[in-house]
């Protein structure tokens, strides 16, 4: 069986790292697009940090050599032929998606409201107004705070977070050369908004932009 990491237009592998369970990387190519995988006799892919980082390490490496569509973690196929069949069937769609992410990486930004004290309310309407004020504060904070980042990105995508938490998570597809200026802008936003908690991680593979380029 094979573990599949990514679809890429970087056909040739060189100096590549090993993949999950130290499996050596291989590629199968079809009409200019390659699927990158490793072969295993037996394979278990629990959500273990070591395996997760191994997957990302492969994606990061491939991104240095071409456009990459990373696969979701844990994709196991029966053999390389199955992967070739995928490339054959969806090649045109992959080519289009690759062109959308070429030269770019994904940066992850999160905004959290720091502590808010529960208010004293009396009665139903008061309760609703209080809940509404908190919610508006969150939405407003997120949109207002993140607005300066959008022009820096080719695409953006809001990511789901746990229900009922006061956190916003947004992904940005940015050209690799602008990662540091983007991070500097996030730092500036944090400095301007001491009541919020802002983070930026990356660069990641463009996981949030593989289904048509973000929302």
């Amino acid at each position: 069986m094979i573990y599949v990491y990514a679809i890429t237009d970087a056909i040739e592998l060189h100096d590549e790292p090993s993949g999950v369970h130290d499996g050596p990387l291989q590629a199968i190519e079809h009409e200019g697009i390659a699927g990158v995988f490793s072969s295993h006799d037996q394979l278990e892919v629990p959500s273990d940090p070591e395996l997760l980082w191994a997957h990302e390490r492969v994606v990061d490496h491939l991104m240095e050599h071409g456009a990459v569509l990373p696969l979701r973690f844990g994709t196991v196929l029966s053999d390389p032929e199955a992967l070739r069949a995928v490339l054959d069937k969806d090649g045109a769609r992959f080519a289009l998606l690759l062109s959308r992410v070429r030269g770019c990486v994904e940066l992850a930004v999160r905004v959290g409201l720091t502590s808010s004290e529960p208010a004293v309310v009396a009665g139903g309407a008061d309760y609703m107004r209080e809940r509404l004020a908190v919610r508006e504060q969150e939405e407003d904070a997120a949109d207002r705070v993140l607005a300066p980042l959008r022009p820096l990105a080719r695409a953006t995508a809001r990511r789901p977070v746990q229900a009922g938490t006061t956190t916003v998570s947004e992904s940005y597809l940015v050209p690799r050369a602008t990662v540091e200026p983007f991070a500097a802008e996030v730092r500036a936003l944090q400095a301007q908004n001491p009541g919020l908690s802002i983070s930026c991680t990356g660069p990641w593979g463009p996981y949030s932009f593989v289904d048509g380029g973000g929302r």
């Binding site: 959500s47 990302e56 990373p70 029966s78 009665g123 908190v134 990356g202 929302r215």
Partner: protein
């Protein structure tokens, strides 16, 4: 956490009632990076058609579906849609 007469609080949804000093920075950074990584690897990326895959990450898909429901409701609201009552 039940409301008391005369002093009734809305249920706080944030898990953090007060600031707790974080543990050393290296551990935090590792956790933060891992969380953003998990978010992408398990919930993003290209998904190949189910009938050819032998395995996917071992997460219960029922609950992934529930979370997607919540975020799609939130997204609809942002566009001004209200669900029928």
């Amino acid at each position: 956490m039940s409301p008391r007469p005369g002093r009734i609080s809305p249920r706080p949804e944030s898990p953090h009632a007060h600031r707790v000093s974080p543990p050393p920075s290296a551990v935090r950074q590792k956790d933060i990076a891992l969380i953003d990584l998990l978010d992408r690897l398990l919930d993003g990326g290209v998904v190949l058609a189910g009938d050819i895959t032998l395995a996917v990450a071992d997460v219960d898909l029922v609950y992934v579906g529930l979370r997607a429901l919540v975020s799609s409701v939130a997204a609809a609201e942002r566009q001004g849609v209200t669900l029928p009552q």
